[in-house]
Symmetry: C2
Subunit: 378 residues, 2 copies
């Protein structure tokens, strides 16, 4: 994997990430394709939205349909009909947030599938093996995701475990697949700045193709998230991409790019679309509100997505209220387009050396919660 | 509205129907767009599938979002972003099959909305008025749909009511909209051949732009449906289009075209798609069956739809089993493409004077239920 810095503007970076066979221009937002599909969208929609890379969840694909099946059918790209880049997480986040009856040891984590109740075991080596079978362009080491808040000893224990697992993952990835798939390290460490610092330094010491900042947006205040992101980004090598996992709202993307982050993923645009929320330059819009019943205007006059070119708010609201499947596709397409346009606009501003002006313009329209202390998670 | 017969082959007809602003080549299948959307498909998908005309339900649109709103937003074509032909039914079928507490008088029918329990009244004049507001290319008079079986006196009473309502609908449609919207007559009469004959003659006597055959596929044996269809089609003027309402399975389309029918609508391809069933030249295929788990082949090797070009049965099954919305879109797109290709192939065969050979070829692959006495309805 190659990563070139095309331009910087303060801490903000415009880059070009070249995987084994795909190019991704950063900053970039990655739509979440949990079950090897970005909910409600086809690959045709994703292309139209300008998606360059999507995320798929190792945990979900491991449970269903199984990584062996995906490998047998030619890997994730071919399986889901997506000929651009794919990133897989390690399964850690889902094991710790979704699975039942988990038992963590140094060896790995035992958990029960919520799909069929069957028991499974995930270790750093097994996660890497699964991700080799899936064949994404960028893969991740198994890590432990902490809840917020946790005690200091618990945070320290967890960090050391994640670091040991990172070293084992790197060893497991060495060899044939290493040319084909990039392995990112994940910086954990909870909400304590010194532990985050230790995590960043130790992870960089191990040496990875890129660096993810994990365990953010888990309930800590927004200000803490921004501060920790800035702290960690500042300790990561400039010549490697930086990925802030699971973040976030449009304003979080802008503020995190300002702090040196290159990559993002979040279920927000897709999940909220299915709840009838559309993102616009003037903030989110909730379609079930009666005010949109007769509105002939598109969701967002600035948007060139298919939903905005072809349909009124009144029609989209009608579809949503009637529970029609087309509502989910059109709203998701619009939201993903919005997030990807935001990333493109940030990139253009950085290249033009005008990221400050971009932020001013963005925040002059986009309403942000008054309380800086709102939790970073949804 | 203009209708030209391009070719005939036995009783089978290839035609060209020209509405106020759209052309429809017959035989044609009309996907059902109940709430001003063909479930799970966008207008882009419908175009890709080759749809020339879609059906929308007056009853459903009357209840939600209301015909006044649709008119205010420029009519159904603009509201749903569909720039080809649209046909609306009269609401009769749904009032008699879905609504609660209906009270039928000569004046019209009172019913309660299943959406919000509110009470509504539909008369022939009101149905026409609603359909004027919706603005479809082809509209229909309010009719009474009988269940099967019914007594002879009940069938006679109902037929006379439908005929009186047809006359009133025609009168209500006379005037400005008559140039812009074609009004089809509906031939009812239940399962008694002599009543069907009387219905056909009296409806033709009233004079309409085209003729629908209603009240079929309501539980009568398949053989009766074919016989009644043949009987009625033979009594309809050759220079007007014939529409068999709510029919049907692929084999029903072929057999009905052989009996002189030009137009069809049915929820089968869309509804069954959402249940995981895909139509192929070798018959329907049920994706939840375990045999498709590892199948790398497309749904139908003969099909050029997006679902068949881009995805394996294994992937589509995975999407369906995981409840992913993309499954509904891709399966619906495939099924609608299948029905529209069947209509196109029938047309080409009729034009070539080879409809007999087409039928032989079709039935040599497509498996049809052994019992000719199976009920015509789903």
């Amino acid at each position: 994997m190659k990563f070139e810095l095309v331009a910087t503007d303060g801490a903000a970076r415009a880059g070009r990430l070249t995987t084994a066979s795909h190019v991704v221009e950063t900053p970039i937002f990655m739509p979440v394709g949990t079950h090897a599909t970005v909910k409600a969208l086809g690959p045709d929609d994703l292309r139209a939205a300008g998606a360059q890379i999507v995320l798929a969840n190792t945990y979900h694909l491991f449970l269903r349909p199984g990584h062996d099946l995906v490998r047998e059918l030619g890997g994730l790209h071919r399986f889901m009909g997506w000929d651009r880049a794919i990133l897989t997480d390690s399964g850690g986040f889902q094991v710790f947030s979704l699975a039942k009856l988990r038992k963590i040891t140094d060896a790995g984590v035992e958990f029960r599938s919520p799909v069929d109740g069957s028991t499974h075991f995930l270790s750093p080596e097994i996660s890497v093996e699964i991700q080799h079978a899936l064949g994404a362009d960028i893969i991740h080491p198994l890590d432990e995701c902490l809840a917020y808040p946790v005690s200091r000893p618990e945070a320290e224990r967890s960090l050391e475990l994640t670091l040991r697992w990172a070293a084992r993952s790197k060893a497991a990835h060495a060899g044939a697949s290493a040319d084909r798939q990039a392995l990112f390290g994940i910086v954990q460490g909870g909400a304590a700045p010194d532990l985050r610092r230790r995590a960043a330094r130790a992870t960089v010491e191990l040496g990875f193709d890129g660096y993810a900042i994990g365990g953010m947006a888990v309930g800590e205040p927004k200000t803490a998230m921004y501060e920790l992101t800035e702290l960690v980004a500042g300790l990561l090598p400039a010549d490697r991409p930086r990925y802030l996992m699971g973040v976030g709202k449009p304003e979080d993307l802008v503020r995190s790019v300002a702090r040196g982050v290159d990559m993002f993923d979040c279920v927000l645009p897709t999940r909220n679309a299915r709840n009838g929320q559309a993102f616009t330059a003037d903030g989110p819009l909730t379609l079930k509100q009666a005010r949109y019943v007769r509105e002939d205007a598109p969701l967002d006059a600035d948007c060139d997505c298919y939903a905005c070119r072809g349909f009124s708010r009144a029609y989209l609201r009608h579809l949503f209220m009637a529970g029609e499947l087309l509502a989910y596709r059109l709203l998701t397409l619009h939201n993903v387009t919005f997030f990807l346009r935001l990333a493109r606009e940030m990139r253009a501003a950085i290249v033009a050396g005008a990221f400050g002006a971009f932020q001013t313009r963005f925040f002059s329209r986009y309403p942000v919660s008054a309380s800086a202390e709102e939790p970073a998670s949804e």
